[in-house]
């Protein structure tokens, strides 16, 4: 644990306050007109927003949003993507061809463009964000799982299992997936960071959470309107976002170094 250092602690704090969030962030919707746009001071370290709501409480509420969305989307993406990728690589043939094309098609949409379009079309709301990001997210895991499985397919223990007549399902579950779990874990970690940013981005565009719920992305967008007079509204949620994402990325980096994953054979992401 020690070698991961600060990054992990930040993530632990983040997850904890997200879980405790609903109990702590009691005032995220409480409007106090007389303190509109008040900056940070001795009593309230984070100040108030354009409706006089406590930035601190909204920050906590937003933390919960990003946490839930991130873990949900990654869970769905990893599950679906891994299963599809492994099966496709193992079975080969037409199935593999179709899946590869499918992956290519989804990968043809750069960045979160498809997620933006989907979220825009499905309508605002956090559930649509989860759907949109999951639809886009499974692809990376499918590709990774497939590539890994392809290289493992001809390993001796797999060949042996097949010779013994083990069912395909058991081979995949028992012999393949555990071996590819390391790179998947790393990809998932970076994936969490990416989803946090994506959710914030969608909320920033107005496609995620709706007023009066809080998300770091929508806080930044609303805050940007008052940058001239209340810069803390952009800086504080921005700093929170950056710190959490940086920590997750650092964790991913360290994991990659530690698990010594060789990705030279695979295409660069």
């Amino acid at each position: 644990m020690r070698q991961y250092g600060l990054a992990v602690w930040i993530i632990i704090v983040w997850v904890t306050i997200s879980i405790l969030g609903p109990f702590l962030a009691t005032e995220s919707h409480t409007i106090q007109l007389q303190v509109i746009l008040n900056g940070p001071d001795m009593h309230n370290w984070f100040g108030y927003d354009d409706l006089g709501r406590s930035v601190f409480h909204r920050l906590l509420a937003g933390s919960l949003t990003s946490c839930i969305v991130a873990f949900t989307v990654i869970a769905i993406s990893v599950t679906f993507g891994t299963i599809l990728g492994t099966i496709s690589a193992y079975l080969g043939g037409v199935v593999d061809l179709i899946v590869v094309r499918l992956i290519d098609i989804f990968l043809a949409f750069p960045g979160i463009l498809l997620a933006i379009a989907l979220a825009g079309i499905l309508g605002p709301g956090i559930d649509n964000v989860v759907i949109a990001l999951s639809v886009v997210g499974w692809v990376g895991f499918a590709r990774l799982a497939r590539a890994q499985t392809l290289s493992l397919k001809h390993r001796e223990h797999v060949v042996a299992a097949r010779a013994l007549g083990t069912r395909k399902r058991i081979i995949i579950l028992r012999h393949l997936i555990p071996l590819i779990s390391a790179p998947l874990l790393i990809e998932a970690t970076f994936g969490i960071a990416a989803v946090i940013i994506a959710e914030a981005g969608l909320s920033f565009l107005g496609l995620g959470v709706q007023a009066p719920d809080a998300s770091w992305g929508s806080m930044i967008r609303d805050g940007a309107r008052y940058m001239l007079v209340a810069p803390h509204l952009v800086i504080i949620p921005g700093a929170a976002l950056m710190i959490v994402v940086l920590s997750v990325n650092l964790l991913g980096d360290r994991l990659r170094d530690r698990l010594d994953v060789k990705t030279d054979n695979m295409e660069q992401d």
Binding site: L33, L51, L228
Partner: protein
């Protein structure tokens, strides 16, 4: 190496000089929304209408007391259904040199009356039966039924006869006889007009973002901006010494509209409870400009048909709670309402505060914001429980028929709340047919009192107007309905 260095410096200089241009001779007026159409036969949005006032002339206008007055024509009533308009000396010239004449007037209004042309203004003048050209300066209007407010409907900009006859579109290339010539509209962000009297150029610069608009003003990239800034930014601008601020009480009416046909909101007690639950003074104090006034009726009190000394719905959360309880709502069974707004951030801000205020008396409000098209469509089709909007530039009491008469449910009119009250219908009709101003205004006053009692709308406030200008701009006067007529007299001084 030396030459490279100088080149580098020049490059940086060129880069940075792309910024501001304080020496520009034109008066640059920042707009929060871009005009949609410079064709007065089709323009309905506030920005387009205000700019069209500069480009086109109209037959009739309104004075400070909201009474009709001649603009480019004088009229007299030959009979109740027959009016004669004679063009006066203030009629101007179109860009091709021809002077505004009666045939232009007839062509314009005939065009609008023709249902095939789908003009949104047709509804306001459909009581015209026919238009007869008498001579080059005189035109007669025959009405289907008498209406003492009639001349007040003829405020639409007049287009040249050729244009109307040939069915040309003036959306992007206006042709008017007004005090300003159209120079250019190269893209959505820049519209250039030229004042006829002294060739002063006015440039309308579209800047969507409020912060950018304020910054541009501070840096001298624009000279004037009017309204559409959050109060905090207005204060901020006011604190800058190179900028002057002026405020004026306005008559644009902001309200909350109810869908009276909704099973929950059909109950007048519920509507009263909502009215008492809203803390309007706090909203005005913290969110709106200093000259904003609380409203209790659609027309401002100083209007000739305005209601003075109306009994307001005070902020009384206790009363609101007891009213709700009397209707069977309590903590276990709270009232749930859906509040729709457009995506305008200011409206969302107000709505969020109202949501909170209603929450305090036990009403759970679901806030839904939509893009304008969807929002407006929902409102017109009655797919709402409550919403908030403003009526801009209301002069003529014909608005009451348009909004509250039982026959004005969309698409016939703007009775979006589906409000039906025979007493109100009767008052509207009696006002329309009464001969003298005194009884007419009394009917309108009684009408507004009844509306205040029934609450199809909760009147909120009359928004103020403000203009922020650089110190070298003088002579720009605000108008109570927020138009840009001040540009007729604005002057830019140079150092």
């Amino acid at each position: 190496m030396g030459r490279l260095y100088y080149l580098f410096l020049i490059f940086i200089f060129l880069l940075l000089s792309g910024c501001s241009d304080p020496g520009s001779q034109s008066i640059r007026f920042a707009l929060a929304s871009t005009p949609i159409s410079l064709d007065p036969r089709y323009a309905t949005d506030a920005t387009s209408s205000r700019i069209n006032r500069l480009l086109y002339q109209r037959l009739v206008d309104f004075d400070g007391q909201f009474k009709m007055q001649p603009a480019v024509a004088n009229w007299h009533k030959i009979s109740e259904k027959h009016y004669r308009f004679k063009l006066n000396a203030s009629r101007g010239y179109f860009a091709d040199g021809k002077r505004l004449s009666a045939s232009d007037v007839q062509a314009t209004y005939s065009y609008i009356l023709d249902p095939d042309n789908a003009s949104p203004h047709r509804g306001s003048i459909q009581l015209i039966d026919r238009i007869v050209l008498i001579d080059s300066l005189t035109v007669d209007f025959y009405l289907k039924k008498p209406d003492p407010l009639f001349p007040g409907y003829l405020v639409i900009g007049i287009v040249p006869q050729q244009v109307a006859v040939r069915k040309q579109s003036l959306n992007k290339k206006p042709k008017g006889s007004g005090g300003f010539d159209f120079i250019a509209w190269p893209d959505a962000s820049r519209l250039v007009l030229q004042r006829k009297t002294d060739k002063q150029q006015i440039e309308f610069v579209y800047v969507h973002d409020a912060t950018v608009r304020a910054l541009k003003l501070m840096r001298g990239e624009v000279d004037l901006l009017q309204n559409d800034l959050p109060r905090e930014l207005v204060h901020y601008l006011g604190s800058k010494k190179e900028i002057s601020l002026h405020h004026l009480a306005g008559n644009n009416f902001t309200y909350i509209g109810f869908n009276v046909s909704d099973p929950v909101l059909n109950n007048p007690t519920i509507r009263k409870a909502v009215a008492h639950a809203i803390n309007r003074p706090a909203l005005v104090k913290y969110l709106l400009g200093g000259k904003t006034r609380l409203a209790n009726a659609l027309l401002v009190p100083e209007h000739w048909a305005g209601l003075k000394n109306a009994k307001a719905y005070d902020y009384d959360p206790e009363l609101a709670r007891s009213l709700l309880q009397s209707q069977g709502y309590n903590r276990n069974k709270p009232l749930i309402l859906e509040y729709k707004t457009s995506s305008d951030p200011f409206r969302i801000r107000i709505a969020t505060i109202i949501q909170q205020q209603l929450n305090e008396v036990g009403i759970k409000v679901r806030l839904k914001s939509f893009d304008w098209g969807t929002f407006y469509g929902d409102i017109k089709n009655g797919r709402f429980q409550m919403y908030s909007l403003s009526w801009v530039g209301i002069k003529n009491p014909d608005i009451f028929r348009y909004v509250f008469h039982s026959q004005s449910i969309p698409p016939q009119g703007a009775n979006r709340g589906r409000y039906v009250n025979q007493k109100v219908d009767g008052l509207i009709e009696r006002a329309e047919t009464s001969a003298d101003v005194a009884s007419r205004s009394q009917y309108y006053r009684d009408l507004q009192k009844q509306l205040l009692h029934d609450l199809p709308y909760i009147p909120l406030w009359y928004e103020e107007h403000f203009v922020a200008s650089r110190n070298n701009i003088s002579g720009y006067r605000l108008a109570a309905d927020g138009n840009y007529d001040g540009l007729f007299m604005a002057v830019k001084k140079y150092r």
